[in-house]
């Protein structure tokens, strides 16, 4: 295709990408370098139903002048990235000097909010993604093998977890695993421990979130693989049969290599999706034991009386950086394949 024609086709979507993706990212990056102006405070008498007290109040007039001079706030450079809520360089230095063993160092670093969230996010991404791919593949193979009369209903039910709104799905499971819920109470019976709580212990909360993640995402990978299975060349499969290949060998040596590009595609989508895991943490009220990078952004913007825009922006930029690092190997692989073909 000549470059001119290519450009003519691509410019509308290029424009949309610049407007809706590039510009917002640049603006978030800019915001992350700024924090709120120092608050000008004066002590005033304030009274209410429960008595009077001298308390500090923000001087709104003085703040207005400051904001008019510099609307973005006070320039803070990369300090927001380095502070205790984000990369916490100074805290890590201190922890390194204080701790006697690597184990102690790791547990103290895990106590810093950003690293705590990062570890869960990475664990979630790398545990859920492969399980989703494998499980989705086997569901697809199984569904492909059943008589065509049952296929419709089975496919429908297999897709249900993806159809349910993520937050609702999480809430339904949340109530089922409650100590008084159907799953929670049954587990207590089986294990024989009335104090067992899937919600309280960090390890079990993590496991619950992973299970939820696989349950919710498997249908996506199933659908993609199922579509792919319909295009596996029949003659190759038949010649493998003639050569005496078993069912497993046919899957291993014909189907899997044929579907490999699809697996790469699913891995790419799932890595991106799982890295910004958020809804299950809200749905399962799991913030006590598991937080993710997206949760940190949410909490900066939503809790408290002042949205911490700078802090949320810095977390967002770090999340983007994380996604880029995560996807680099997959992208390099795709690029190599592309060059080889060319």
């Amino acid at each position: 295709m000549p470059h001119r024609t290519f450009l003519a086709f691509i410019w509308p979507s290029l424009l949309a990408m610049i407007l809706f993706i590039a510009v917002p990212i640049v603006s978030v990056g800019y915001q992350s370098l700024y924090v709120e102006h120092p608050q000008v405070m004066t002590e005033v008498e304030s009274c209410g139903p429960f008595g009077c007290k001298a308390e500090l109040r923000v001087d709104a007039d003085a703040m207005r002048t400051l904001r008019a001079e510099s609307p973005a706030g006070r320039y803070n450079g990369f300090s927001t990235y380095a502070n205790a809520s984000h990369l916490a360089f100074r805290n890590i230095g201190e922890i390194w000097r204080q701790s006697d063993s690597l184990g102690q160092f790791a547990s103290l670093v895990m106590n810093l909010p950003f690293y705590k969230a990062l570890v869960f996010t990475i664990a979630y991404t790398f545990i859920v993604t492969p399980l989703v791919i494998v499980l989705g593949f086997f569901i697809a193979v199984a569904v492909n093998a059943i008589p065509s009369a049952y296929k419709g209903p089975v496919i429908f039910f297999s897709l249900l977890p993806m159809i349910v709104t993520p937050l609702i799905g999480a809430l339904v499971l949340f109530w089922m695993i409650d100590a008084r819920g159907v799953i929670g109470a049954t587990l207590q019976q089986i294990v024989g421990d009335p104090q067992l709580s899937l919600k309280a212990s960090p390890a079990l909360t993590w496991a619950t979130l992973f299970v939820y993640g696989v349950w919710h995402n498997a249908p996506f990978s199933f659908v993609v693989f199922y579509a792919g299975l319909q295009t596996v060349p029949r003659d190759t499969l038949e010649s493998a049969m003639v050569d005496g290949a078993s069912r497993w060998e046919r899957i291993r040596y014909v189907t899997i290599p044929y579907l490999m590009p699809l697996a790469t595609f699913i891995a790419l989508m799932q890595l991106m999706d799982n890295f910004r895991v958020f809804e299950p943490i809200i749905g399962f009220s799991a913030a006590a034991n598991a937080t993710s990078l997206s949760y940190l952004i949410y909490s900066d913007l939503r809790s408290g009386d002042f949205p911490l825009y700078g802090s949320a922006a810095a977390s967002s930029m770090l999340t983007i950086l994380g996604v880029v690092i995560l996807l680099t190997p997959v992208l390099i692989r795709t690029w190599r394949d592309f060059k080889r073909k060319a």
């Binding site: 139903p49 429960f50 500090l56 927001t80 809520s85 309280a200 212990s201 802090s311």
Partner: protein
């Protein structure tokens, strides 16, 4: 029969109010646009204000639990999207900081005959808001369970814990306690409540620097931890709403919860009438022999937006006066602990009234309290589950607060 009577009276009142609206409110013209949180008492006020609508006066309302997140942008525009914002001790702060509130002294002088002095929220001598109800957490208890086991109504946390132990030992209930210990806002509210009971201050005098990592803070955390030993293992996910059904199932004997919820616990149409009958309220427990109930006193009230026409401001103030008029409150006295003239405490108000009588302290009304509240809520969960020490949890909360307060410009 009783419900039928109630309904008839309510309909009669509605018709009467609607018919006489113009005469009663006396507003010539203007637009009243109300933004508020979403609970019973505020519905009562807003619905009454709505009766002021006429050919020349429009009254609209948006009652949503998201009110706190939209109030600043909504009142910043000129003209503001809402003319009235119903706020509480904490949610007035962002509006005050951004200077979006109209001083109400003239309005009170002209149309505030029914407003009592203690309803006026003054900052630097100027009336900025009118409070109409009070709220606080307090003790909920089952008098039948306590009596059957020879337990007096607990006054202090030590007595609450002893009572729980007694119930457990007697095999009555394994987990007789409940409190909203869900990490985040709820858990922090419990900490703030109990900490106020120690008599301690949250900030170093005259600065925005947090001062919670001290003896009082540790004592509070240890008490909360001891309480949690008598709660179901899922306590770490329970908020106020989650506790009510468990209470109604008869699985709890003692709970610390919000006064604004008390009415629903003893309502005539409760799904568990037997338990509702034996649900009683008392002041929040004291801690460490200080004699101060461990509860923060809150008020709910309203402000009038700055960026609106004087005509709309007048209409809004007068409509809200109808909303919180003694007559309207009299008709709905069960809905809240009202601060309005002529209100007499009902059975549901006993707990809050007891808190006030025993000297509970107000929730700190300083601009940076919200940041500390958030930092506390985000950092106590690990301690509550036994994964770190009280000192470490308080140090983490202080560090998170300091970082946020620096970013928000309160600490330089």
């Amino acid at each position: 029969m009783k419900n039928f009577l109630k309904a008839t009276v309510a309909i009669g009142a509605l018709l009467g109010a609607a018919g006489g609206a113009y005469a009663e409110c006396g507003i010539e013209k203007g637009s009243v646009r109300i933004l508020s949180n979403d609970f019973e008492a505020l519905h009562v006020v807003a619905s009454a204000a709505e009766t002021c609508a006429s050919d020349t006066v429009t009254v609209t309302k948006n009652q949503t639990s998201e009110h706190k997140n939209i109030q600043v942008p909504a009142l910043t525009t000129d003209p503001a999207t809402y003319t009235v914002a119903m706020i509480a001790t904490n949610s007035i702060m962002p509006l005050l900081n951004a200077d979006l509130i109209r001083p109400l002294d003239d309005y009170v002088a002209k149309w505030g005959q029914d407003v009592q002095e203690n309803q006026l929220i003054r900052v630097d001598g100027k009336v900025v808001a009118i409070a109409f109800m009070a709220n606080a957490q307090h003790l909920f208890y089952r008098d039948d369970v306590l009596e059957a086991n020879g337990i007096a109504v607990p006054q202090s946390y030590e007595e609450v814990l002893a009572a729980a132990q007694k119930l457990r030992d007697a095999g009555v209930m394994q987990t007789p306690l409940a409190s909203a210990y869900k990490p985040g806002w709820d858990l922090a509210a419990e900490f703030v409540n109990t900490y106020l009971g120690t008599g301690g201050e949250f900030f170093k005098d005259g600065t925005a620097e947090a001062d919670i990592n001290n003896e009082n803070g540790v004592k509070v955390l240890e008490t909360m931890k001891a309480m949690s030993e008598f709660m179901t293992p899922d306590f770490v996910t329970y908020d106020t709403n989650a506790i009510k059904p468990i209470w109604e199932a008869g699985d709890l004997a003692l709970s610390i919860s919000w006064g604004s919820r008390a009415g629903a616990y003893i309502a005539a149409d409760s799904p568990a009438p037997e338990i509702a009958k034996h649900t009683k309220f008392a002041a929040a427990p004291t801690i460490d022999g200080k004699g101060i109930p461990g509860a923060a006193l809150w008020w709910d009230g309203f402000v009038i937006a700055k960026n609106i026409s004087d005509e709309d401001a007048e209409a809004s103030f007068r409509a809200m006066m109808v909303g919180i008029s003694p007559d309207n409150i009299k008709a709905h006295e069960d809905a809240a602990v009202w601060l309005v003239k002529g209100y007499e405490a009902t059975a549901a108000a006993v707990g809050v009234a007891d808190d006030v009588a025993k000297g509970a302290r107000p929730y700190p009304m300083v601009p940076y309290m919200g940041l500390l509240h958030t930092a506390i809520g985000d950092n106590l969960a690990e301690f509550m589950q036994g994964q770190e020490s009280a000192e470490q949890a308080l140090a983490d909360a202080t560090a998170a607060y300091t970082t946020a307060a620096k970013e928000a410009g309160f600490i330089h």
